[in-house]
Symmetry: C2
């Protein structure tokens, strides 16, 4: 189960995110795609649902917004826990992964007998340029 061929709407939404320098809200994506025929939020949300499922896009919970995944490797397998730094100044988002954090979190939730389905790690602050 790799990534299937994207539909037209999915490609358009993916393109909007990929060409943006920062995260986009669903409604911002909608506005960017009006010229391509988008008329309603559901067209965006349905595409986003699939892109999230395929691992091509991440949702930033603390922003109610979405970013294209910047993982270098192919998306054939789940890429573990994803973390983000989010600059309040310039809006820059940096995705990163860390095995140590993943394992430590895993141990902590195992101690609670908790079964993880999705992990959110988001760090708000200021990047080097915006300090």
């Amino acid at each position: 189960m790799g990534t299937p061929q994207l539909t037209k709407n999915q490609s358009l939404v993916m393109g909007a995110l990929a060409h943006s320098d920062g995260p986009l809200s669903a409604y911002t994506i909608l506005d960017k795609l009006r010229d391509q025929g988008f008329r309603a939020p559901l067209q965006v949300y349905r595409a986003l649902d699939k892109l999230l499922e395929y691992g091509l896009v991440h949702r930033l919970e603390s922003l109610n917004a979405f970013v294209a995944c910047t993982c270098p490797h192919e998306h054939e397998h789940d890429h573990g826990v994803t973390a983000f730094t989010i600059c309040e100044g310039c809006g820059q988002v940096t995705e990163f992964h860390d095995e140590a954090i993943e394992q430590r979190l895993s141990a902590l939730v195992r101690a609670q007998s908790f079964k993880t389905e999705k992990t959110t790690i988001e760090i708000r602050g200021h990047c080097k340029s915006c300090a």
Copy 2:
């Protein structure tokens, strides 16, 4: 600068959260407090802002909801990074803190020359009872 005396509205909102077994949305709090004279969302949001500032309440970004802090120690000092497990089955939320994760995250963002202001860690899944 400890925690100031709470105002009436702040006390009511704090009480609603403290007596709930799970997280509450702002609008759910509003409904619970209608009999106490609450009429509009802003009454809730303004109280929540202060309670968040005092560290008595946490916001769950992935749920757009709020929980009372369950830290044992007094809230005279910032209690570092807070993490949560959130059960999709029963809604139970468990707050925890871990020095190792805090330090590892700190090292990772320092490597980016990023200055952290707020860290969100939320783990969605199923608790022992709901597995």
